[in-house]
């Protein structure tokens, strides 16, 4: 994602002080635990013009739930800081298409790809078809529609462990739909879904790779390999 944004001419900074958005805690019922993380976030990113994350679920957490966490503290200053920072937080595809007005990022990715719209990007952030617009403009790509795309992959955070049986039943159908497309690659904007889907594909020796949307968009003709970092 860094390479992509720099290629588009932007200055990218990664404040090392950041840790985690706290979504896992919030959603599992440990809302109190997220309070220090919210404080941290507003401090660390205080001066940023735009805060971009390749994760609809993290961005969703910040935009939808940080105000609620701030309310828990009752501290007006924190509530205000959260309100001020939220408009500057973007999910990657929203940032590119809606904020920068860019749909062609000059990428090259000669593979058959199907796109899974994660629940957070679809329903919470409502990114719409921004990711698809971006993917369609990738040179060399063979983009195929995923049947029943809007159905949840079954990750759901701790749900995948706590209710593993049901999670797997959902994942089974998602995998089936992916395989029906005969794609080599399943792309998505959330690493959580990718980890879930990829984990099962690997176990089943499914012959399909999971790749983050950002990796595809960052790929160019001179190097279209995979970037091996978080």
């Amino acid at each position: 994602m860094v390479r992509l944004l720099e290629r588009l001419g932007h200055t990218v900074d990664f404040p090392m002080e950041q840790t985690c958005c706290g979504q896992m805690h919030y959603n599992t019922g440990y809302q109190e635990e997220t309070i220090p993380l919210v404080r941290r976030f507003v401090d660390v990113f205080d001066h940023a013009e735009a805060i971009v994350a390749p994760s609809a679920s993290c961005v969703g957490m910040v935009k939808e739930f940080y105000p609620k966490v701030a309310d828990l503290t009752g501290e007006d200053k924190l509530i205000q800081k959260v309100d001020e920072i939220i408009p500057r937080v973007y999910e990657l595809s929203q940032f590119l298409v809606d904020k920068l007005g860019v749909e062609d990022v000059g990428a090259y990715y000669p593979h058959r790809v199907t796109y899974h719209p994660t629940c957070h990007s679809l329903r919470m952030l409502k990114v719409g078809d921004a990711p698809l617009k971006l993917l369609r403009n990738v040179k060399g790509i063979d983009l195929v529609e995923l049947p029943a795309a809007e159905e949840c992959c079954g990750f759901g955070g701790t749900f995948a462990i706590k209710n593993a049986d049901t999670s797997m039943a959902m994942l089974g159908d998602k995998i089936r739909h992916i395989k029906d497309t005969e794609a080599e690659v399943c792309a998505a904007g959330d690493n959580s879904c990718l980890m879930h889907i990829g984990g099962a594909l690997k176990r089943q020796r499914g012959g399909v790779e999971t790749v983050h949307l950002a990796e595809i968009l960052a790929s160019t003709e001179d190097e279209n390999g995979e970037m091996d970092h978080e």
Binding site: V2, F14, M16, E17, Q18, T19, C20, G22, M24, H25, Y26, N27, T28, G29, Y30, Q31, E33, T34, P36, L37, R40, C119, R123, M124, E150, E151, C152, G154, F155, G156, G157, T158, F159, A160, I161, K162, N163, A164, D165, T166, S167, M168, A169, M170, L171, M195, H196, G198, G199, A200, K202, R203, D228, H229, E230
Partner: protein
């Protein structure tokens, strides 16, 4: 946490799910049914240019109602009484059953006819009546099936969805005494019709629930397809209707909102076949004695929770059930409650309380995908309430939990991670430790086996190990 053995207490969702997931008949039936209704619903909703405005109005009307529930209930009672009906108040299920029993016994009958009412299931009315030798005959076709099979409903709207026609044929052959019956739906329906018509013509007491009760006019409504609702609320001389206190709406005019939201959300129709509206008693037309039983049974507890209060807005359409990826695979019985699916996952724990382990497992029976919120006609933010209830469960554990509960692996992990994420140095160190530690579990670049709770992941999925160079380490090399 209950000390009773697993076999004595109601199972949790996690415990039940696997069994139901393996029931192929169930998976086929419910999968087919939910997908069919889901698609139909989308079609009829797409026809409505003002759907979102109606949803918003519905949400606001219910909000208005709940915030002033006492005023509206008092107004409702007055309106019903002025129209010649009687109103009874029941604090809990036992009280409601006692009231109804007394009313029925006063009529000296051994059988009453009933319209489907989840509220009466909630209070266990049929059992209470049976205990005093009074048979409550279910007249809704699916409920009749469930009753004859001595089973439990598994869906709010289509309770017998877990049975196929061959099973139903056998049931009717045996219980209705019709040996020649085929399994054609028309013949099955005809057999039920004949059997029930005899009952309708002679019944003296009818019992129903109600979809809405209008405070302004005292009008109660029943929304249905088959006509048994009309039969039970028109033919007997005495009618008893049981409604949860949350069923109330302020004025007659508000029907213009709810009666557009409900049929499209429930059965994916522009309008269902029959809607009956009656107010008190009408001389020479229908029951000459009408009793409205208003039921609390935990609803005031839900009302007291500012965040959970919106749960009471539910108009029982079941649209959420039909889009839920969990419900479509496990079916309703896995929830062990009269209210299954997404709405059940928030209503049941609030009504029953979090001391009940089965009820307390329900807020976790969700991947928080949000499909339910999208379709809820009154905009109940179900995912928000689920997360809120999880928070309540955690708080309860911290306050009242035994040491054993606090040592629960998830609890320990969450607490530890919370600490770790608070400081950059701890976070980075944890990454490094995890990366070293994972060497034990990594083979050929993949982790296929993890211990403890995490084994639930690796039982069915692989896991990519943390890369040799984390993003942070890469970032540092750039400068």
């Amino acid at each position: 946490m209950s000390k009773r053995s697993k076999h004595q207490r109601t199972p949790t969702f996690e415990e039940s799910a696997e069994g139901y997931l393996s029931n192929t008949q169930l998976r086929r039936n419910i999968g087919h049914a939910t997908h069919t209704i889901r698609d139909k619903r989308a079609g009829v909703v797409a026809e409505m240019p003002d759907w979102e405005k109606l949803r918003e109005a519905g949400a606001k009307l219910k909000q208005r109602t709940m915030r002033h529930l006492d005023k509206y209930l008092v107004q409702l009672e007055e309106s019903v009484q002025q129209a010649g009906g009687q109103v009874h108040w029941a604090r809990d299920a036992d009280e409601a059953n006692r009231i109804i029993l007394d009313l029925v016994k006063a009529k000296q009958v051994e059988e009453v006819v009933k319209v489907k009412s989840i509220t009466t299931d909630e209070i266990g009315l049929n059992k209470a009546l049976a205990g005093e030798g009074i048979q409550a005959l279910e007249t809704d076709l699916a409920e009749l099936i469930v009753q004859l099979a001595e089973d439990e409903p598994s869906h709010i709207l289509v309770p017998a969805i877990h049975k196929n026609r061959a099973e139903i044929r056998e049931l009717f052959r045996e219980k209705l005494g019709n040996r020649e019956l085929s399994d054609k739906p028309e013949e099955l329906a005809e057999a039920a019709r004949i059997y029930l018509r005899r009952k309708f013509l002679s019944a003296e007491v009818g019992i129903s629930g109600g979809n809405f009760a209008v405070a302004e006019t005292g009008t109660v409504s029943v929304v249905e397809s088959e006509g048994n609702g009309r039969m039970c609320t028109t033919l007997p001389n005495t009618l008893i209707s049981v409604l949860g206190i949350e069923k109330i709406i302020p004025t007659w005019r508000d029907f213009e909102v709810f009666m557009q939201l409900l049929p499209r959300s429930a059965t994916a129709e522009r309008m269902n076949p029959y809607n009956s509206f009656w107010t008190g008693v009408e001389d020479g037309d229908g029951p000459q004695e009408f009793h409205l039983v208003l039921l609390d049974n935990g609803r005031t507890k839900v009302l007291a929770d500012e965040m959970g209060r919106q749960t009471l807005h539910c108009i029982r359409c079941s649209a959420c059930l039909n889009v839920c990826p969990v419900y479509e695979r496990t079916g309703g019985h896995a929830y062990h409650s009269v209210y299954p699916g997404p709405i059940g996952a928030i209503l049941t724990p609030q009504l029953k309380g979090l001391d009940d382990p089965s009820a307390a497992s329900l807020p976790y029976a969700s991947s928080l995908c949000g499909a339910c919120y999208e379709v809820c006609p009154v905009k109940i933010n179900i995912p928000e309430v689920l997360v809120h209830l999880r928070g309540e469960i955690v708080k309860k554990k911290e306050k009242e939990g035994s040491l054993r509960e606090k040592m629960d692996p998830e609890h320990v992990a969450m607490k530890w991670m919370g600490r770790t994420f608070r400081k950059r140095s701890r976070y980075e160190r944890a990454q490094k430790v995890a990366r070293s530690g994972q060497k034990l579990f990594t083979h050929d670049g993949t982790i296929s086996k993890l211990p403890g709770e995490l084994s639930k992941w690796t039982a069915m999925r692989d896991l990519k190990p943390i890369p040799k160079q984390t993003f942070r380490e890469w970032w540092k090399t750039r400068s």
